[in-house]
């Protein structure tokens, strides 16, 4: 029993330990996608200015010190302010950057659904020419005559 437990523990360690280490280790490539070059106004990933190079050196130094991704982003915010983050923080007024598009999407979807329902309801009432009873009387006779000319 104890041998089996030991084997299971070893397998679990072998499977999950590298993933845990990989998750904890920050990488310049990943951070560059999430922060801005404040002077260039672009993602750091796309920036080549002298300021961007100093920002990269700063990130590399913190990675070498073993800081996590969040700690490095916090350090960048302490240096350059919140504008250094490519995505605004999900708290306070900045939360509206996430909430407003969702609310707008829901409102638009509801408006569209209501519009479609009204349109369909209106269409079944017979007011639409495409769903009408068609020509009658003199018009019908003329239409039949015209069609007959093309009836081979």
């Amino acid at each position: 029993m104890s041998t089996r437990l030991a084997v299971l523990a070893a397998i679990a360690l072998a499977l999950f330990a590298p993933a845990a280490v990989a998750e904890g280790r920050a990488s310049l490539t990943e951070i560059e996608k999430q922060v801005m070059c404040p002077v260039c106004g672009t993602l750091l990933q796309l920036a080549e200015s002298p300021q961007a190079q100093r920002e990269r050196a700063f990130i590399n130094r913190l990675i070498a010190e073993g800081r996590s991704e969040e700690q490095i982003k916090d350090a960048l915010v302490a240096e350059y302010g919140n504008a250094v983050l490519a995505l605004p923080p999900d708290s306070g007024f900045s939360l509206s950057a996430y909430v407003v598009p969702i609310v707008a999407f829901v409102v638009a979807a509801v408006a569209l659904a209501v519009g479609v329902l009204r349109w369909r309801r209106g269409g079944s009432g017979g007011s639409s020419p495409s769903h009408g009873t068609g020509p009658s009387g003199e018009d019908a006779e003329r239409l039949d005559a015209d069609l007959a000319r093309y009836d081979f």
């Binding site: 002077v39 002298p50 300021q51 100093r54 920002e55 700063f58 350059y80 302010g81 919140n82 504008a83």
Partner: protein, 174 residues
């Protein structure tokens, strides 16, 4: 007016208002000669304290925006320090503002060029924006009442300081 029309007009007004707000908050108009200089409070580059630009009222101040990564800022550093040594005192000082720079880099820069005049830190660039700067370096001569008297966009040198700044200072040639 129907409810639907009112909502449509409100929607158009809201979009228009957002556009105007975006343009106004994005645009940065530069300070004109005679305008009041912004009086932001900024942390000192070294020492951990903070200072307001209003603390310098009553003195002539040459506010110089710089950053360690900016080559023209390196080029003008020695001339600014020389100017401070010659004219700095109770009536005048150069005031450096390290903008959008890393603190350690800024401190190294100050040490490398042996700068002795006060240095503040504008990490997010908001103060540079409030002054309406469009690049680095930029310098503003502020009079004792806090009004802008001179603006230099770009590097200043000994000749500029002597010909443009000195005549305005107390005891200058003007």
């Amino acid at each position: 007016m129907s409810l639907r029309s009112s909502l449509a007009i409100l929607g158009v007004l809201a979009v228009f208002g957002l556009l105007v707000f975006g343009l106004l908050s994005k645009g940065s108009s530069g300070l004109e000669i005679g305008d009041s200089a912004p009086v932001e409070t900024l942390p000192q580059l070294e020492g951990g304290g903070s200072e307001s630009l209003a603390d310098y009222r009553g003195r002539w101040v040459l506010v110089n925006f710089w950053a360690s990564w900016c080559p023209p800022c390196r080029a003008e550093a020695a001339d600014l320090q020389q100017f401070q040594e010659e004219f700095g005192g109770p009536k005048f000082t150069v005031l450096g503002i390290d903008s959008r720079d890393l603190t350690d880099d800024g401190v190294d820069f100050v040490e490398r060029y042996a700068m002795t005049y006060p240095q503040l830190r504008d990490g997010n660039g908001d103060t540079a924006h409030a002054f309406g700067t469009t690049g680095l370096p930029e310098s503003f001569l502020i009079d004792p009442k806090g009004k802008v008297r001179l603006h230099a966009a770009g590097e200043v040198d000994e000749a500029y300081l002597g010909e443009e700044v000195v005549p305005l200072l107390p005891g200058g040639q003007s």
